[in-house]
């Protein structure tokens, strides 16, 4: 009897995973499949799940009719700058606020930085816009990048990580007369590297996927990011669906690739934080 329920449960589990997996994959496969269809086939009834005459003309049109390579570059530049800066400063600030240092007001500063995680972006968006306007940065990379250069989550994560580093390592370095900066570069950073890498990926993805703030500050096609491009491709008169799907596929590829290679890191960094405390 026990065995029967055991087997039943296992079958149920596999069935569940299968069902959920299908539910997740079907829309994604549809996205890929329809990007290879012609516009007329797209609306065929009954529906074509796979293209009967697959062709990549949507992709061709995407690259020829629009500066799609430009959009790619914009997304890459912004995301790379934001993620590199974010990780570096998160590590530096996390180090400063960790158990490795002690100065008056340290905890207050940490709580303060942590508190900013609660603030919705809408709260600061209007003054940020006005600041960017005053600096002449509207419609430039700078306007998009500046609000993303450092995030509280990263500081929190790295502080936690650096707390775990044995203080003796640093003390040993100090006895040898090493400067604090050297300790940071030679001891702290290498030891924190796995978490830094996870944060890098996490921040990169967050920036790649961002839509709201670029929507507000970017008005010219020259600077458009991929997310903006995909959104603008959907006109209210009519939409060229295979084209939009092709753009969607191309916009998702880098993320999917990064994810495929660093899956464990990814999930780890996203789920890491609150569960320990």
């Amino acid at each position: 009897m026990e065995r029967l329920t055991g087997v039943l449960l296992r079958v149920l589990r596999y069935a569940l995973i299968l069902a959920l997996g299908i539910a997740v994959l079907v829309p994604l496969l549809w996205m890929v499949s329809s990007s290879f269809m012609r516009h007329t086939e797209f609306f065929a009834v009954p529906i074509h799940w796979l293209p009967h005459q697959a062709n990549a003309e949507a992709y061709g049109r995407l690259v020829l009719e629009q500066p799609f390579a430009r959009y790619y570059m914009n997304s890459i530049v912004i995301s790379v700058v934001v993620s590199l800066s974010s990780v570096f400063f998160a590590t530096l600030t996390g180090f400063a606020l960790s158990s490795k240092y002690s100065f008056a007001g340290k905890n207050a500063v940490f709580v303060f930085i942590l508190g900013t995680m609660l603030l919705p972006f809408e709260l600061i968006m209007i003054p940020l816009y006005i600041m960017m306007r005053a600096l002449g940065l509207l419609n430039t990379y700078g306007a998009v990048i500046i609000p993303g250069l450092l995030g509280a989550f990263g500081v929190f994560l790295l502080r936690q990580t650096i707390n775990e580093i044995p203080g003796d390592l640093l003390d040993a370095g100090r006895i040898d007369g090493a400067h604090e900066l050297i300790l940071f570069a030679r001891i702290v950073m290498p030891l924190a590297m796995p978490v830094m890498a996870a944060l890098l990926i996490f921040t990169f993805v967050g920036s790649w996927n961002s839509y709201f703030w670029p929507l507000v500050v970017i008005n010219s096609e020259r600077l458009r990011t991929l997310t903006l491009a995909v959104a603008y491709m959907q006109g209210y008169y009519s939409t060229d669906y295979p084209l939009v799907m092709a753009a969607a596929v191309l916009s998702s590829l880098p993320i999917m690739l990064v994810f495929a290679f660093s899956q464990r890191f990814f999930i780890q960094s996203m789920t890491l934080s609150g569960l320990k405390g």
Partner: protein, 295 residues
Amino acid sequence: MTSGRARLFKRPWDVWGLIFVIPGLAYFIGIFIYPTVRTIGISFTDYNLFTPPVWSGLHNYATLFQQGIFLGSVKVTAIYVVVIGVANYVLPFLVALLLFRSRPVLGIGRAVFFLPVILPWVVVSAIWKIFYLSPGPIGFLLGLVGLSYPVNVLTYPGTALWGIIATAFWKSFGFYVVLFLTGLNAIPETYYEAADMDGANAIQRFRSVTFPLMRSTSLFIATVNFIGAIKEFDPFQVMTAGGPARATYVLTLFIYETAFKFLRMGRAAAASLIMCAAIVLVTVLQFRLFRPERD
């Protein structure tokens, strides 16, 4: 730790801690604190970006609470947050409970479930906007199980929000399953063994062991879920532009349009402060509710 804040620096090298923290601190002050203060200031003015701000006291706040569009958007946001909050808690928890013993399949399943989570919302919105067309893929799939799908759910005010909720659930589901799995895996076996020795069945085991020990995970999930849901913008703008007839006009969309389409910066600032207050309030409440007992 030692006695209070007697000294500025405990040890000679601590000064470097202060030095290292300055860039980050300055950044947060400049990018978060200063703008927040300015937002508060702007909320007491009428400001259209072109002419200088004009002091108007509490007028913006008063107007908001009488304004149908604002109150409507609060209602829509509340419905969204509550529904997706419950959905993203109960269902992933159940799935995690059913799955957490099964190791190997877990790895693959986890990877697949996470795909929608990492995709840009704009891409997911584009896919589902097409998915919901009638006739279209959803209609076909529902037809397979004998249900009919006569019209595009996004076209009608009664159903548009539910369409977006379903998509949002599809997108975030994997994230919460993984969170619950991590939390469940952290529970030491000894607790379960003790329960088994007491002859507890599955339900009793859940009530006395699993659920209580998942309190901090639950708190984390509830908080992340709520803050994420109330801040959501992309699908509401891309899939339905807040329509039809403002059925999906959430607070973030209200703030965005009030500021950049209607050029009423003061009113948008006030609305964003109200939103922030709501976040703080609910988060504090959640902490009270889920606080792990100090025993």
